[in-house]
């Protein structure tokens, strides 16, 4: 709790990601003309939208001391299902989006119930769910199917006055998540349960209910991300969700959230997402060889995590 409402001194482990992001953006803007083009910034936010929404959900999970590896496949399942259900029909957009969020929340609920009843490690449990969902997707189809609707395509790719719709949605979601996380009783209990579950229990906090809730949030946000990913791709590609869970975890940890739980911030996770998007964008704009890009990204992520994760905190 104290960590969330930390004193406003500049601290590397807390503010490092913002400093790194600001420095990267300033240097890139000064040295790469194409980077400072406003349309490029719009591109950046469009590209970061899906991962940003996933990272918001994953932040809740990781702060609770858990981890959710199933979010990529939940998003992938939603990409396929929503595309098949919509098949280009704009009228069905709202009910299908609502249904998909319910499906995602339902899978999250199942994760939470299984976790609480079977007492499995969340890494193992959600990896199992990842496999189950992957199998389900490929049992359904092994190729791109269906078509997203025009409203979703506009939401994922379009903009208003140069600001991408997906960025507006992401910011709205982030504000809501921030208040839930840092300004509500649920948020305080979440941080307490993630930091020290036993102490939290002794303080009367229902840790199991908190864990259930974070998996529901994670599943629902993964489904929302999946709907938008379908909008980005235009179709239901069965492999669309592959690896997204790891990108989300890297972004969250890059933002300074402790993998051991009890500390984190929605805004810092989003800064982590933006950092990954900026790195990718800058390296593309510089024409850096795709092989070298992988290497550079890895090094930057390691250095950034060394800067903003208190050493020993995860030990």
């Amino acid at each position: 709790m104290a960590v969330v409402r930390a004193p406003r001194r500049l601290a590397l482990d807390r503010d490092g990601i913002f400093l790194l992001l600001a420095a990267t953006v300033i240097i890139a803007a000064l040295t790469i003309p194409a980077f400072r083009d406003p349309a490029n910034f719009a591109n950046l936010f469009r590209q970061a939208g899906v991962l940003g929404i996933l990272a918001i959900g994953q932040t809740f999970v990781i702060v609770a001391g858990m981890i959710d590896l199933s979010i990529g496949m939940i998003a992938g399942l939603v990409v396929v299902l929503s595309s098949v259900l919509l098949n280009g029909n704009a009228v069905l957009t709202l009910p299908v989006v609502a249904l998909m969020i319910l499906v995602g929340a339902g899978i999250g609920l199942l994760n939470g119930v299984l976790l609480n009843t079977l007492r499995l490690h969340p890494l193992i449990l959600t990896f199992g769910m990842l496999s189950v969902l992957q199998g389900a997707i490929f049992s359904f189809t092994d190729k791109s199917v269906g078509r997203t609707s025009e409203p979703l395509s506009i939401l994922a790719n379009g903009d208003i006055f140069g600001i991408p719709w997906i960025a507006i949605l992401l910011m709205g979601l982030a504000v809501g998540a921030h208040f839930l996380f840092a300004r509500s009783r649920f948020g305080y209990h979440l941080v307490a349960a993630g930091g020290n579950p036993e102490s939290a229990r002794r303080a009367g906090i229902n840790v199991e209910r908190i864990r259930l809730a974070v998996f529901v949030i994670s599943g629902a946000t993964a489904a929302l991300a999946g709907v938008l990913l379908a909008g980005r791709l235009g179709t239901g590609y069965p492999l669309a969700g592959n690896g997204l869970e790891l990108d989300a975890i890297v972004a969250v940890v890059l933002g300074g959230t402790l993998l051991s739980g009890g500390r984190g911030s929605i805004w810092r996770s989003l800064a982590g997402v933006l950092m990954l998007a900026v790195i990718s964008n800058v390296l593309n704009l510089l024409g850096v060889s795709a092989f070298v890009q992988q290497f550079i990204k890895g090094v930057i992520v390691i250095v950034a995590i060394l800067l903003n994760q208190p050493r020993g905190a995860n030990a």
Binding site: A39, V50, L85, N87, Y237, N242, N284, G287, F291
Partner: protein, 351 residues
């Protein structure tokens, strides 16, 4: 309460609809129809501009030696024209990243976009945006793509290749027996088309039983591991359908180590050097080529488009069958397995 019940009924109806609709599987368009479509002329005057040109290459993946050789063909051909720069991005099999990569390339004011997709349908919208922005697009090395966002294709038909491989296998096993299939990454166009071609050919051979379809992800080690399991599972495997040479060689190793190499017949693979060496040594299988010069043809088409010359919607880069007896000239015994038969000059060969 009523609202809740209504909501639940609505959700149930949608869920039922989702099961009823199911995926829409489209059969491979007939080769004749595809050829006719590819022969259509495209008016390119809207794309005409003076050089020097900046070419953007959006690779769906680069972690594959075929793609590396195709990319070198792009660079080689570009060096013969008024091209100032070739910018390359790698989507690492991620279609969402490929959409982002193409957006980034468009921000860099490229004059021509050459791409090979992770998935055709997933990049259709962003390619349409490229064309609308005045950047011509040429697909390199995939199957023929007929979409508003694709100006032209240097295409290799995965379906046709799969069909050729399947027909040679059927001939080599005498039209009967039990076979297994090894395909690339599930969901990719290559895997879908190759399987469709195999199933189409199998309809003509009722005495051939397809025991199992596996996905080796173009990965020699994974193909070997999967094959080890197949050998445990099936006491009789008369034939192997594997159009990708790098997976065929992994499978052959597994058969050899199990002492069962003699019982099976391998289909032709492609011109992956490790496979060619195996074919030369064992005098079976052969090759159905998947030419890496598709990248070169794509640049040639692109240069014509930028010159405002009319082009066709597609130029086929045909696969050819090379019998085991003729495999020698294609094979490079002193090169590594992860190498492709090509006409690249020495300075453009991958280092």
């Amino acid at each position: 309460m009523k609202l809740t019940r209504r909501l639940l009924l609505g959700v149930a109806a949608l869920a039922t609809a989702s099961l009823a609709v199911g995926p829409a599987f489209a059969d491979q368009a007939s080769d004749a129809a595809q050829t006719a479509k590819a022969a259509e002329t495209v008016d390119t005057t809207a794309f005409k501009k003076e050089g020097p040109y900046k070419i953007g290459v959006s690779a769906g993946y680069l972690a594959n030696s075929w793609v590396v050789f195709a990319l070198q063909h792009v660079r080689w051909e570009a060096s013969k024209h008024n091209v100032s720069e070739v910018v390359v991005t790698d989507a690492a099999f991620n279609p969402a990243k490929q959409v982002s990569d193409i957006e980034d390339l468009l921000r860099q004011n490229i004059d021509l976009l050459i791409y090979w997709p992770v998935d055709d349908a997933s990049v259709a919208d962003v390619l349409k945006r490229a064309v609308d922005a005045g950047v011509p697009t040429v697909q390199a090395g995939g199957g023929f793509t007929d979409a508003p966002g694709v100006v032209s294709n240097a295409y290799i038909s995965q379906w046709k290749l799969g069909e050729m491989v399947a027909r040679h296998l059927m001939t080599d096993i005498g039209g009967k027996g039990k076979i297994v299939a090894m395909l690339p990454i599930a969901g990719t166009t290559a895997a879908v088309d190759q399987l469709d071609a195999l199933n189409t050919v199998l309809k003509e051979y009722p005495d051939v039983q397809l025991l199992s379809v596996e996905y080796g992800d173009w990965n020699r080690a994974k193909a070997k591991q999967i094959t080890e399991n197949l050998l445990q599972r099936f006491p009789e495997i008369d034939g192997v359908y594997s159009p990708a040479g790098q997976m065929s060689i992994g499978m052959a190793e597994a058969f050899d180590e199990a002492g069962r190499l003699g019982e099976t017949v391998f289909s032709p693979g492609d011109e992956y050097n490790g496979w060619l060496k195996w074919v030369a040594a064992h005098k079976q299988g052969g090759a159905v080529t998947f030419p890496t010069r598709a990248g070169q043809v794509a640049v040639q088409i692109g240069m014509d488009i930028l010159a405002g010359k009319p082009v066709t919607r597609g130029i086929a880069v045909p696969s050819e069958y090379v019998a085991p007896a003729d495999i020698g000239p294609l094979t490079a015994p002193d090169r590594p397995d992860d190498w492709w038969a090509s006409d690249l000059p020495a300075e453009f060969l991958p280092q």
